[in-house]
């Protein structure tokens, strides 16, 4: 087991090695124990200030990061693009450099443009954690998804995971594919042809357009949200039709040959990609994913802080 991450920033799963991911998981196991104690806090990052910079809306990820930072005793500043000087025409680097001038050690950033985190990492000294860059990657989500599969099924290696829905616009899908493949799982994507990019097969991913066939193949189904905010043109006739063809309901779940695990990265559109009785069922680990999110993000912050330390 390697003793430190091979990277200084967490920009995407693509840059991580299998050993990195395993180190993150092992550390997250310990943090999961910490956040289930009466005193859910350890002093590790007490000399670190983290800026959460969100140029795009987020509830779960931002809260999860903020809780993770606070439970590591880091100081936290929050910044969101709306109501800031970004609307006055300030550039990304100027905004971030101004924040860093106030002595911030780490930056957690979400941005609508793919590659924004990489760009930032190339131009500033602080450690950057990508909390989602457009349709590119969302590494901490993929890590917590794989961590939750490992927790539920004991191992990720050899498991079959299908990602259902809007693959084209999903940063969760891409990060998940990289992460699961590095850990030795088989990955399939399922959705309407218009929402599956053409290069998918090149990534070694199976493509299936029939939901029932895909579900019968898999051990785990990760149901993605339809990202209406990213759809500039119509990719399918109506939400109702999408829901009829690709929505997961109790009848489909009960008709499968074996019991599968159901995941969702949130926010859920109940009744569209997943019905309420499935989302709230025993097979669903949606809330475990949220709990694990804090532990995994604590592990990432802790390990990156270690790498940016001042060793003799």
């Amino acid at each position: 087991m390697s003793q430190q991450l091979s990277v200084k920033h967490l920009l995407g799963i693509k840059d991580l090695t299998k050993e990195d991911i395993e180190l993150i998981f092992q550390t997250a196991d310990n943090f999961k124990e910490v956040i289930n104690r009466p005193i859910k806090k350890v002093p590790s990052l007490r000399d670190i200030t983290v800026a959460n910079i969100f140029f795009e809306n987020s509830t779960r990820t931002r809260l999860s990061f903020e809780l993770a930072e606070k439970r590591l005793s880091a100081d936290v500043v929050n910044f969101s693009a709306s109501g800031s000087s970004v609307s006055k025409g300030e550039t990304l680097i100027d905004t971030v450099n101004n924040i860093l001038a106030m002595k911030v050690d780490m930056v957690v950033m979400r941005h609508p443009k793919p590659g924004a985190a990489v760009f930032l990492a190339n131009h500033i000294n602080a450690s950057v954690i990508n909390a989602g860059d457009g349709t590119h990657e969302h590494p901490t989500q993929a890590l917590l998804d794989a961590f939750s599969i490992r927790e539920k099924l004991g191992n990720v290696e050899g498991k079959k995971v299908v990602i259902v829905g809007d693959i084209l616009h999903s940063r969760v899908a891409l990060s998940n594919i990289f992460c699961l493949q590095k850990l030795g799982a088989e990955v399939m994507v399922c959705g309407p042809k218009t929402l599956i990019p053409k290069y998918m097969q090149d990534l070694g991913v199976k493509v299936e357009h029939d939901l029932i066939k895909a579900l019968n193949w898999c051990d785990v189904a990760n149901m993605l949200r339809i990202q209406l905010e990213r759809q500039d043109i119509k990719y399918f006739p109506s939400l109702r039709e999408y829901s009829m063809l690709y929505g997961l309901n109790r009848t489909i779940l009960d008709g499968l040959e074996k019991e599968i695990v159901v995941m969702h990265p949130g926010p859920i559109n109940r009744g569209v990609e997943i019905t309420s009785d499935v989302a709230d069922s025993k097979q669903s680990i949606i809330l475990d994913q949220v709990e694990n999110g804090v532990a995994v993000r604590m592990a990432v912050l802790y390990l990156l802080a270690q790498n940016s330390g001042f060793k003799q």
Partner: protein, 185 residues
């Protein structure tokens, strides 16, 4: 493990005599261990604490001792100043609130591990008293005002030397070695 720069200061027999003595000292002070908790410090201190826990039960099978293991990685004061120590698991399914805690470590050196352990311990509750048991006490090298209540043996060492406690099982090659830092064990 045997070479010119390594010196064995405890053999297997001496080690078990010392462990026995520490156990009897604990019994002397804690009687039936009612209200006392033994907690080993991860990762090397648990080797000693497990042995002591086992030996105490052998000496007096009727006593019921509460036992835990504490990981202090997240409380260290040298985080980001040295190589990463991958954390070990906590086994703290015990109440420390209002108890007398005996912290157990293998080697007491600078005292910084114990400082971190006290911080970690207080996050699980407020013990009425905390005692410290160290198998080896490296005298004159303390960086914090910390002293052990139970000591296996005090030894003189210099900073470049390392002390290794090997305590795997009853059949293993148990012992304590002092080695100069260039030697790889």
């Amino acid at each position: 493990m045997q070479n010119g720069q390594t010196k064995r200061i405890f053999n297997k027999e001496l080690l078990s005599i010392t462990i026995d003595r520490l156990c009897y000292q604990l019994i002397e002070n804690h009687n039936d261990f009612k209200g006392t908790v033994i907690i080993g410090i991860q990762s090397r201190g648990v080797l000693v604490s497990r042995r002591i826990f086992k030996r105490l039960q052998e000496i007096n099978p009727t006593i019921n001792i509460e036992y835990g293991e504490l990981d202090i990685s997240f409380y260290r004061d040298d985080f980001r100043r040295r190589e990463l120590i991958v954390p070990s698991a906590n086994k703290m399914d015990i109440q420390v609130e209002g108890k007398v805690v005996v912290l157990v470590d293998d080697v007491l050196y600078t005292g910084r591990t114990i400082r971190a352990a006290l911080d970690a311990l207080l996050d699980f509750g407020r013990p009425t008293k905390v005692e410290l048991l160290a198998l080896i006490d490296r005298k004159f090298s303390r960086e914090l005002p910390i002293a052990a209540d139970y000591i296996g043996q005090s030894i003189d060492t210099i900073a470049s030397e390392k002390v290794l406690v090997q305590l795997q099982s009853d059949d293993g090659d148990d012992g304590v070695w002092i080695t100069s830092s260039e030697t790889k064990l």
